[in-house]
């Protein structure tokens, strides 16, 4: 297990390193001259040269990359062209909101999806199965912004205009500042994201459970006199989890799109919103910062998923 961990983490570090090279090539080397863009459209060649020198762009590419990497390792991602704020502090101020949305939504969609999937699998083609599947597919087919706006309309606007206590419609309150307000502000974004993603897990869990429940060892479990609950959960779901964990890893990595829209709809200044704003403004250091943080998150998620595999399956753990 220790060797497995070391191997997996070293691989993760290598992947991250490759990502820094890609980012460097993409943003500093490949496109039109960065110095031109920073110096502005009407800058004289002299100004451009000065900018180029201060940015170290007149040095050989390898030296430039080396400096870029060293700065990165010190957590120095440069400064925003626009607010002059350091990118790392910008990111760390935005990260808690995004992580809050993701973590809460993930808990809800996993619970919802897996529970529904198990119920569907126990009685395939039953009324409950059909009902839950339609429920899941309905939300699955909605665009993020449509569901987000609908939630906002119902639970904020409609409740508010009818004088019923309503949920807050926008903003983020840090957990450390006021846990209750944090929770209340998170409810709508959580539910929106969770409903969108739960369908995948309902279907996946249902199919995975149906496969597993027809396995010989499930028949063995029943023939041992175990209760149906134990058979389904302890023996069935335990085996059905592997594809679910894989999907979870993929979804956390590709959640960006949904996250951006959710943050925008619910007026939360998270990393997703930051990404959109920096791209619109061409704020290069911020874009790079977001890309690197997002890639690092995906790499870390993959390591966690692999560890989860090993924990779940002894054949992976012991080989």
């Amino acid at each position: 297990m220790a060797r497995f961990l070391v191997r997996r983490i070293s691989l993760g570090v290598v992947v991250l390193w490759i990502i820094t090279i890609l980012v460097f090539v993409m943003f500093f080397v490949a496109p039109n001259d960065v110095a031109h863009r920073i110096a502005g459209r009407n800058a004289t060649p002299a100004t451009v040269a000065v900018v180029r020198h201060t940015l170290g762009l007149d040095k050989p590419v390898t030296t430039q990359y080396w400096h870029f990497l060293i700065r990165l390792l010190h957590g120095n991602l440069g400064q925003s062209y626009f607010t002059q704020q350091s990118v790392s502090s910008l990111l760390s101020s935005r990260l808690p909101a995004t992580l809050s949305i993701m973590a809460g939504a993930a808990v809800i969609w996993m619970l919802l999806g897996v529970t529904n999937g198990v119920i569907s699998a126990i009685r395939p083609r039953s009324l409950a199965d059909r009902g839950l599947t339609s429920f899941a597919l309905f939300f699955y087919s909605l665009p993020t912004f449509v569901l987000g706006l609908a939630m906002l309309n119902i639970f904020f606007y409609q409740l508010h205009t009818h004088g019923i206590p309503n949920l807050p419609g926008s903003g983020y309150v840090p957990l450390t500042q006021d846990p209750y307000q944090w929770f209340v502000h998170m409810i709508l974004p959580w539910i929106t994201l969770a409903l969108l993603l739960a369908a995948t897990y309902t279907r996946l869990t249902r199919n995975s459970m149906l496969d597993v429940l027809s396995e010989d060892y499930i028949r063995t479990a029943r023939s041992k006199g175990l209760g149906e609950g134990r058979v389904v959960m302890r023996h069935g779901l335990r085996s059905a989890l592997t594809p679910i964990v894989t999907q979870f890893g993929i979804d956390l990595g590709t959640l960006v799109g949904n996250l951006v829209v959710t943050e925008k709809v619910f007026g939360i200044s998270g990393v997703g919103a930051l990404a959109v704003d920096s791209i619109t403004n061409g704020d290069l250091p911020v874009i790079i910062g977001v890309v690197i943080v997002a890639s690092a998150a995906v790499v870390v998620m993959n390591i966690i998923v692999d560890i989860a595999y090993a924990v779940l399956d002894p054949r992976v753990r012991l080989n």
């Binding site: 063995t220 023939s223 175990l226 149906e228």
Partner: protein, 354 residues
């Protein structure tokens, strides 16, 4: 009273292609401490019948009774049935790798079984599991108990399954093709372990197999199934030397003879689809002795005076065994009973239909 008395058991699946009666009017009984061999080709309903008795078949229509110590298992509630499963009647299956949970240690799976039925501590259950593994012939059981199934060889897995099945000293062990997935040498060892456990605990065994050879060594009685029905029941000696049903005879003749270079004679054709059974005797399309009367389904009727030997075939009751004289008499009977003369069943049918 027998330990287990199954009467007129029928099991029907409803499939997209129609109703499929996998078991039709099956009756048999099992005495305490004895071994009943259930033999038949693939699809004859051996597994469905035994699993139905344990309440393990789902979405089926079941009729008949299965009295275990006088109580009808088919009418028990879920929770009552759970108390029987594992502790009174235990099962082992064909493929020991897929029958053990791949993610749990072998010992954990045995302990789980013990603690489901008995209020004992984990340590006590574990100690018992180690003893059980030792008694089925697994060396270093105190180490092996913490292995996962994939770390065991095929034979060891089946031994572990037997250990688990015997954990609560059940009155019946149902072994559904316990050796089919194993090497020949390992097969013999596993059967020997089962026999030893039977002698030690007095367990009755239902041994399901498609190989009469497996039954030859350890069964007291043999039930031959064909297309969901019992076609012949007898004690072992009678089954091997005085069998009446042409299907039983065919199974015997298809056994590879070890000491002679006689060729293997497989039964021609294949079992009928249960969705479209031939009218009359289901063996008719494959039977070399088919007669006019076989268009009518033969009942399972007594062959000997005591009524212990029963067979579902219209051939005269005094024609039994594989000997040449018996063979001649069968052919004569078949000829006398049919307007079309002797031939392979398939030929005869074809001729009749032409």
């Amino acid at each position: 009273m027998s330990l287990l008395e199954v009467s007129d058991l029928s099991v029907t699946f409803s499939t997209p292609d129609g109703l499929l009666e996998a078991v039709r009017g099956l009756s048999f009984s099992l005495e305490a401490g004895k071994t009943l061999g259930i033999v038949g080709e693939s699809g004859s309903g051996k597994s469905v019948a035994t699993q139905t008795i344990m309440g393990l078949t789902q979405n089926v229509r079941i009729t008949g009774t299965a009295l275990f110590e006088g109580v009808d298992l088919l009418t028990l509630s879920r929770s009552e049935l759970r108390k029987v499963r594992g502790s009174q009647i235990a099962m082992i299956f064909q493929d020991p790798l897929s029958s053990l949970h791949p993610f749990y240690r072998v010992g954990w799976q045995i302990v789980e079984m013990i603690r489901e039925h008995e209020d004992v501590s984990k340590d006590a259950a574990r100690a018992r599991a180690i003893d059980l593994l030792r008694s089925v012939g697994i060396s270093q059981p105190d180490v092996r108990i913490d292995n996962y199934p994939y770390q065991f060889s095929g034979g060891m897995r089946q031994r572990a399954m037997i250990a688990m099945a015997m954990a609560l000293n059940p009155k019946i062990l149902i072994a559904d093709e316990p050796t089919t997935a194993l090497d020949v040498t390992v097969q013999a060892q596993v059967l020997e372990v089962m026999e030893r456990m039977q002698q030690e605990f007095g367990t009755a065994i239902i041994l399901i197999t498609h190989d009469l050879g497996v039954v030859a060594d350890i069964a007291d009685d043999v039930l031959v199934m064909y297309a969901g029905r019992a076609v012949e029941t007898a004690d072992r000696r009678t089954t091997f030397y005085e069998q009446h049903h042409p299907y039983t005879k065919g199974l015997l003749e298809s056994l590879p003879a070890i000491d002679t270079d006689e060729r293997l004679k497989p039964i021609t054709g294949s079992p009928p689809s249960l969705l479209r059974l031939p009218a009359g005797c289901s063996f008719r399309p494959r039977c070399p002795y088919v007669m006019d009367r076989c268009a009518e389904e033969p009942p399972l009727r007594p062959i000997d005076d005591a009524g212990l030997h029963r067979s579902a075939c219209w051939l005269p009751t005094d024609v039994t065994g594989t000997g040449e004289a018996a063979e001649r008499r069968r052919r004569e009977a078949s000829e006398a009973g049919s307007g079309t003369g002797v031939g392979s069943g398939i030929d005869a049918l074809r001729r009749r239909e032409a």
